[in-house]
Symmetry: C2
Subunit: 519 residues, 2 copies
């Protein structure tokens, strides 16, 4: 019965799959904005929260942050901050007043309004890996520089999986495209291959403006409509310790002015760019993040901002960054407490230091993803496809991570812990009594196909069944699914006129030389 019920749900097995449209290589969970109802794990008591807040405020007031953007410097001067060369010192009243203007929750609406996201509150949203310069897959079998084709394939995975909510930065840097026009080609690919929320790198005026314009065109929006609500977002990193550079702040201010999503994520590696002690690294990270958010709110009160964490530790042997460590988990949880203290949505990541999609990759990634859940994170960057501390993107890892993400989404369904009389099921227990089993009874039959999470990658066969099926380890199974998804991918609908307008814009901007590459 179990078997036949399973097959029924699968709609006729292989034949049924083939008959369906190409996108249905696997049966996946439907698109939804997962709600994380768990009470967050909070290692800090009230004194601890106050100590970190006091630390962050003292850093801002007494030590200050280098602001390497004259326009931002001028705005801080105008706001009454103390300026000493390019060092800005901020009164805590100013910071807290500005941060208080940021909304606790905001929406991001991409070209397909059905993909609108709510950032903040109890929502937890996942994005694809972003920005690795290199690529690894099982067919190539070694680390290679990223290409446009690999990037496009990872974008297809981004679109395909319902558990991926937003398209972050480039899932791999296509270094076969010249940097001056890379953003144009990749944004064209992103906007035609996916209909999910877009991101712009804050790497110079042209890139940010071009991406905003392309997102506007893709959405069929007037400039007024684009500005009316957040359509996309940027993520900036401070140059830790305690510095914001020119282009990041430039993009930040452009996005803030037009009311688009602004995420600031200091990369505070404890023992390198931040104190070796985790609470100190978190305090410094918050100081760096809060002053950027204050700037955005000063420019455009109420504009959508989120605070990110990328606090982790280094390898004691080599100084290399480590990810998904116990210290990383605690830093993420502490930042979650502080984000709630400041009333800001929060971003963290799905990360690992492993070089290939093996056991280490998955325990490190699991650690970071569960820390995201425990911390009350709202946006999980790099949630699928990341290897080697972010230097490699891998489609097999992408597929493996999506299996974990789906499990997290299922974990969040209240059905898993519901206690209605139907769930306690006394009648079923009474019927079965002290003999027999629950396989065949009505209570089971009524619920069988939806009662449990059904994996698309995990192999739950026994050893003999698994061996008979080829004894395939997880990454190779993931590779096959990757190929099947790419080979049968269908892009989301896009008006042909809009596609032409995008292509024309790209051609025009390429003719103009694209963006300067002296960043």
């Amino acid at each position: 019965m179990a078997d036949s019920a399973g097959r029924r749900k699968r709609g006729g097995g292989r034949a049924g799959n083939a008959a369906r449209r190409g996108g249905a290589v696997i049966e996946q969970m439907p698109w939804r904005l997962p709600v994380n109802a768990d009470r967050p794990t909070e290692p800090l008591d009230e004194d601890g929260v106050n100590a970190i807040h006091e630390g962050a405020m003292t850093i801002l007031e007494e030590i200050g942050v280098a602001i390497l953007n004259p326009e931002a410097l001028e705005l801080f001067r105008e706001a009454g901050c103390s300026i000493d060369g390019d060092i800005v010192r901020f009164g805590r009243e100013f910071i807290m007043e500005m941060v208080g203007k940021a909304p606790e929750t905001f929406t991001l609406t991409p070209r397909n309004p059905d993909r609108e996201l709510i950032v903040g509150g109890k929502y937890i949203l996942f994005g694809n890996v972003s920005s690795p310069p290199n690529y690894w897959d099982m067919e190539i079998g070694r680390k290679v520089a990223g290409t446009r084709e690999q990037c496009a394939n990872l974008l297809k995975l981004t679109q395909y999986f319902n558990c991926i909510h937003f398209a972050g930065g480039y899932p791999v840097e296509p270094v076969d495209i010249h940097a001056s026009v890379r953003h144009l080609d990749v944004l064209y690919d992103k906007l035609t291959l996916t209909d999910k929320v877009m991101h712009a790198y804050s790497l110079g005026r042209e890139r940010v403006e071009d991406v905003m314009e392309m997102v506007r065109i893709a959405g069929g929006l007037t400039h007024e409509e684009f500005d009316a609500r957040p359509r996309m977002y940027t993520n900036i990193n401070s140059t830790s310790p305690l510095k914001h550079d020119y282009p990041m702040l430039d993009g930040w201010m452009r996005m803030a002015r037009r009311g688009q999503g602004c995420v600031v994520t200091p990369f505070t590696l404890a023992g390198a760019m931040a104190p070796v002690t985790m609470a100190g690294a978190v305090a410094q990270s918050l100081a760096e993040g809060l002053c950027a958010i204050a700037l955005a709110q000063y420019i455009n009160p109420g504009c959508p901002c989120a605070i990110g964490t990328f606090t982790s530790n280094v390898d004691m042997k080599s100084g290399a960054p480590a990810f998904g460590t116990p210290e990383y988990m605690r830093a993420t949880q502490m930042t979650g407490q502080m984000a709630r203290f400041y009333g800001l949505p929060m971003r963290s990541s799905g990360v690992c230091a492993a070089n290939v999609p093996d056991g280490q990759a998955m325990w490190e990634t699991s650690n970071s993803l569960w820390a995201a859940v425990q911390s009350g994170t709202n946006m999980v960057y790099h949630a699928a496809g990341w290897l080697e501390g972010g230097l490699i993107a891998s489609p097999e890892k992408f597929i493996m991570d999506c299996e974990v993400l789906q499990q997290i989404q299922r974990y969040m369904e209240p059905a898993t812990y519901a206690t209605t009389p139907d769930d306690i099921a006394l009648d079923a227990i009474r019927d079965v009594g002290n003999e027999g089993h629950f396989f065949g009874i009505q209570h089971t039959q009524d619920r069988y196909t939806t009662a449990f999470y059904q994996p698309f990658l995990s192999d739950w066969k026994n050893y003999e069944g698994w061996e008979a099926a080829g004894a395939v380890w997880t990454p190779e199974r993931a590779h096959h699914i990757f190929k099947d998804i790419i080979n049968s991918f269908e892009a989301p609908p896009l008006d042909e006129g809009i596609r032409e307008e995008l292509a024309t814009f790209v051609a025009k901007r390429k003719e103009e030389g694209g963006a300067p590459t002296d960043f």
Copy 2:
């Protein structure tokens, strides 16, 4: 500096390692009883707790449990329970009164008193994989029936790793030893290769009595000393749904009488031996467990008991058990809430359905281990070495799991979230300011070697370094560590007279024929 600091800590690298005693193949965390200070994740609200409690009590009162042991049946009759054939119905007052006599915390003291465990409260303790009939390692490369040598090797790992607190059942069934005398040989191996807390299978009078006697001999104890406090424990499984069989209850009562540890763990697979709905499966599991604990408390009020959970779901396609699933996690968390409601220590497990130590194995095991943490579990069975739903023991998986267990132990160290002024480190942040880095400063130097978890298996090198070192994936690295540990293993000290007494006992009991094998 990072590098040299790391090397200093490693005590001279390879040469230093080789100079040390054989046991130091890796640098591992010291022996300790980890304290889990996190507030548990509690999916149930008060109504939910009451609904499951009410369900469990109704099962006990109205449906009843088959008690296939005449002695136990007689005891329940004497206690005033309603007996109908072999079905016992229990008043909730009786159950709650008896359960109330069980201690919230107890100790287990093995032959080496330095290895004493505290079970309950905020302690979380880990045990080795127990009872798989089969074995897999990378050298053999396929599933094979377990042998005494493999069992002994896994016992050496059990002893070697400080993060493994107790020696559960046989880490693999040595099916090359006849079942009638298997317990004698394995207990001899266990008691000579390890000095950690022992377990007895409740599979017939002889086995339980023999193991108690051997644990007594190994500890150099009189019978009175043995009985004076818990020296070991058993774990029984009910025959779900709602049945306790003869030999399990026999062993249970023998252990309870002598004040030894009694853990009851129903194996309630939702949709098979329990309702397809998780809360119903948990309610049934609790009913099965609570009546066994009531029996133990009726026999010997105050004897040490713990309630276990093994509630998981089946694969919808095959009916095979699945482990480390979202539903498994929620069942574990709900059971944790109920264990606190009843004031009982709790056992759960580290489990997976994967057949080999790959990515799937680690995300499923991570899910189950984090569920153990989130649920407030006190004893984590099968925490290292389990594959194929418990049908395979693997030394590579054992090593990989120990890396995860150590990370969980480090995660629990308050240093990871401390917020003293030294942790906030304002002076360090002030010193470094907006330029430079934290590598070289005193605050970092003073803490560098202890600030972060240092892995023994995770490879944090970059891809090129990892490739230069042979491009070795995690299971193969684990295999090498396994071999190194076995090859240099030194058994813990044991008085020669005691060893001879154990050997003599084994020889005598073998001559007598051991235990019947008709169970």
